[in-house]
Amino acid sequence: MNCESARPLFPEYWEGSIDEADRLILQAHFDKCAGCRSEAEELRSIWTGLAGMSPEAPSDQMRIRFYDRLDSYRQGLAERPQRRSWFEWIRLPAPAFGLALALLGVGFAVGYGIDFRKDNTQLSQLRSEVSNMRQLVALSLMQQQNATDRLQGVNWTYRVERSDTEVLGALLNTINHDESVNVRLAAIDAMRKFGDSPIARRGLAQAIFKQDSPLVQISLIDQLVELRDSQARSALDTLVGQAAVNPEVRQRAQWALSKLQ
């Protein structure tokens, strides 16, 4: 190995990711070449020093701008078929086109006569857009690989509408499958909002049997008690009767049965 072929291996050598065969060859070169050896060590300090630079973080506004723009984009896509239909009117047979124009005229007259309703409609539309944005943020964060981000996603679910079945489904999925116990526990707490939903209650009861963590199982049981879900009794009965279940969990299930008379 000469110096020219040794140098491209320096970064992997610094990172410790160099494969064993290359490391041995490089080491043999260092034993013979003091120049490369000293250069590698000197530049190693530069390489490691770069890791000391804190990552830059964007402002909170960036996320808001993104979701706002995405929402507009999606609305634009949704409106496209309607826009095409306006051009299609020109091709309508004359009587149909005439009727369409007449209806349009009536529509304008009605619209100008009740202007005061415009503001309420716009406000309602704005509320809907904000609601969509919150839902999208919650769902997107809950799909991230980083547990902290998924936790943040669960926190966003507190801001969505109670009737949001998509978010409810995502929370149940998180409870059943998330690899982080903390995220699962947070999702259980967030389910309180959806406590009126039979899907939510059934989902919580079924989730107990899918858990490997006794802590999560106890939290699920507590949530069912909090929701006063007497339908959960049969699931709790089954749990008490399973010898393989953690004794503390069975004890908690027994307590829950006494509460849900």
């Binding site: 140098r7 530049l43 530069i46 000391g52 402002s59």
Partner: protein, 191 residues
């Protein structure tokens, strides 16, 4: 694992699930911002560029091929966005211009007696930051991609359109150039 891979998500966006771009945004907006911020030194511009990248991904979603890594495609778009924006803002300026050419010179740490160890490290990091800012853009870029963006060499090769061996050579040369600038600033003997 709960999270779908980037390629799967982007394939869904390509096929009409536009809202799923948000999943990719949540995953990648911070590293992308970091990339632009290190490249340009301008926070506001970096935020604009991040937005631009995601909406270019939407506009050109039909060009995404799930057989190739999503990150390589994303960074290619990012580099194009930066080039396009730079041309639009200052068309008279050569692309080789280093934005830090006007940065004030930093007093070498060796002329400040009594600096304790922690302050010394902070000062070294600051000098390294200045040195990075003064590198030519192509050298700065390869260091940012390899050191800050958590990308493997084959991914960087895909982004830059070159061989893996060439990436390794360029990383070495960029580190050497950075070292030379740093040691000049530090007042010590250059490599």
């Amino acid at each position: 694992m709960l999270a779908s891979a980037d390629n799967e998500v982007m394939a869904e966006v390509r096929d009409g699930e536009v809202r799923k771009l948000a999943v990719l945004f949540e995953r990648h907006h911070k590293p992308l911002f970091n990339f632009f911020s290190h490249m340009t030194g301008d926070r506001a511009l970096s935020e604009d560029l991040v937005q631009d990248v995601f909406f270019r991904m939407l506009r050109y979603r039909h060009t995404f091929d799930p057989a190739h890594p999503f990150t390589a495609w994303m960074y290619r778009i990012a580099r194009n966005a930066q080039t396009d924006l730079a041309r639009k803002r200052r068309p008279e300026v050569s692309m080789d211009h280093s934005f830090a050419d006007d940065a004030p010179p930093l007093e070498p740490v060796s002329s400040r007696p009594g600096v304790d160890e922690e302050l010394g490290r902070a000062q070294e990091t600051k000098m390294l930051r200045l040195a990075l800012d003064r590198l030519p853009p192509d050298k700065r870029e390869i260091l940012i991609l390899s050191r800050f963006q958590d990308l493997k060499y084959d991914e960087i090769a895909g982004i830059l359109g070159c061989e893996i061996g060439a990436v390794k050579v360029r990383v070495y040369r960029a580190t050497k150039a950075l070292g030379e600038l740093y040691f000049q600033l530090a007042g010590a003997k250059a490599v």
